[in-house]
Symmetry: C2
DNA sequence: GTGAAAGCGCTAACAA
DNA sequence: TTGTTAGCGCTTTCAC
């Protein structure tokens, strides 16, 4: 790797190491010196050691992203948004997958907090207090989670839920089952808060926010008089779709199904899933800009708009 | 947050910084001292500065993972395998998503190459020569791609394809369509090499290795007398399933569909997809071990077994 | 077994 | 404009 150091370049160029440093990082040097040094550096294939540089500047040029599960397409898209923006601003991205483990999350936060310029944290379920205790407000931005005192980028979940409900009601549905997510999940509580006040909505038991969770919710949904189901997220909706198909229940003829998040799977399901689109990719890039101070101020709470994407899984109720 | 240094720990523990270092990195220290220092370090929330450590040890404790697209569940799973193993051996992981762009891949390789101890590279489509030129054989491990002269971890694609074909033939199929992937893809060439020699197989035009690619392949497949389709991968198979459903073609009654990779979507499709399971998670962890020299030798070519997972999308041909 | 001191490669004062 | 001199936080000789 980069064996050549500033010393080598300095010696070869007949100048001091500080002059080399200045010539290469845009300090005050004569044009001729700068050119000469740059030429030598290029010839020697000099690559600055970023660790050494970071040690003194205090900035590493890296940042961290912590997610509970990369296999979850939602977080994969967020990660993609982060890495894309990071590449544009020449930052490196450490990614830690905590595997939904709070301990791993805490460790990642500690390690990354120390070795990066900031961290983007996706923590759907850790208690506010834990987050407040483990995260430095100055160098942490929460993604898809809001905690007072910390910067965050969230989607307008309430509005998304309302759009979904309005859509179903406009279609004629008057009994809408809601299959919720984990009670300790921030996003699940957000959804519930909106839905609790809607008379047409029938709240069912919460399930795991997974395909399996959706599978298990199939029969309970059928046990209700609902003509439509709103699922916690697309994965749950997919599980629902699967179980309903297995029971010979036609979607959307007998019952409509609506998901949330609009992950890419939503368009691939059978039938294609009506879902509330959340700007996942964008949340990553916006979060990164917030972290780097390119936009907003520390402590800021960004809210990104959501929008309903209507596909074939929702239609008028059976007459 | 990460303000505490060895100095702080040393002062608090009443020992020298060198003793702290030894106690924490497994040097020669008395058991009592070690325990005391570790306790203090934990209490102070001490996190070693990896940059400083790397400066002296010459090792960064970080490695890189380059993937073409994190949203592709295949690579998301590989990434998960890498991060999981990295966490176990206390390594940080830089992830670069190149967005299928060869230039971005080159840049990522250069940047990561000099800021990490090694790079795991997923490059399905770059020419061998480009890879050989850009990658340092001593610090690079290819994942799901084999290039002479570079270490790699690949799945036994040939065997997987053979299992799939044998399965279909055993069911009674005698006309099997194959919807292939990009001709410049290493994995696609591997599959083709096996399939070319099989009389029962009908080679169709290659498509993009995506859901959309599969959609487009639906009608061409129906234009053949095939009673079964083997798709380049699960995403293509899903697209196929989707288009076939839209055409009112029953799967597997009228035609069987088999995918490849066995990504999680395969189990969620309708009908659930028979697919060749590739050890994605494992490839990541094995690749990491190979990179860190915990297993095998540089230049090694690891081959991981594949296995057919039979689900509802494949059955006997129509009689 | 432990401490003092010497750097790793680099940048940022401070002089000159 | 340039060189000299401190370190950044850590590990690692070398004494003791």
């Amino acid at each position: 790797m980069g064996r050549t150091t500033v010393q080598d370049v300095a010696r070869e160029a007949g100048v001091s190491v500080s002059t080399v440093s200045r010539a290469l990082t845009g300090g005050t040097v004569s044009a001729s010196t700068r050119e000469a040094v740059q030429a030598i550096a290029a010839r020697l294939g000099y690559q600055p050691n970023r660790a050494a540089r970071g040690l003194i500047t205090g900035r590493t040029g890296n940042l961290g992203l912590i997610v509970p599960d990369l296999r979850n397409p939602f977080f994969a898209e967020v990660a993609k948004g982060v890495t894309a923006r990071a590449r544009a601003v020449d930052y490196g991205v450490f990614i830690a997958d905590t595997d939904e483990d709070p301990v791993a999350e805490r460790e990642a936060l500690a390690s990354l907090g120390r070795n990066t310029d900031g961290v983007l944290l996706c923590s759907p379920r850790s208690p506010d207090a834990d987050l407040l205790k483990a995260a430095d407000p100055a160098t942490t931005v929460l993604l898809h989670r809001r905690v007072p005192g910390l910067s965050s980028v969230v989607a307008d979940i309430s509005d998304g839920i309302r759009q979904a409900v309005r859509h179903l009601i406009a279609l004629g549905h008057r009994r809408i089952a809601y299959v919720g997510g984990p009670e300790d999940s921030w996003a699940a509580r957000q959804r519930l808060a909106v839905l609790s006040g809607v008379p047409e909505v029938l709240l069912l038991d919460a399930v795991a926010p997974t395909f399996e969770g959706g599978l298990g919710a199939g029969d309970p949904v059928l046990a209700t008089p609902a003509t439509a189901v709103l699922a916690y997220n697309d994965l749950v909706a997919l599980g629902l779709l699967h179980r309903l198909a297995a029971r010979g229940v036609a979607v959307p003829e007998r019952i409509s199904v609506v998901g949330f998040d609009d992950v890419s799977l939503a368009a691939m399901s059978h039938p294609p899933l009506t879902s509330v689109a959340v700007p996942k990719h964008r949340s990553g890039s916006v979060g990164l800009d917030l972290l780097l101070g390119r936009t907003g101020a520390p402590g800021d709470q960004m809210i990104l708009p959501t929008s309903l994407v209507v596909r074939a899984s929702s239609d008028v109720p059976p007459s």
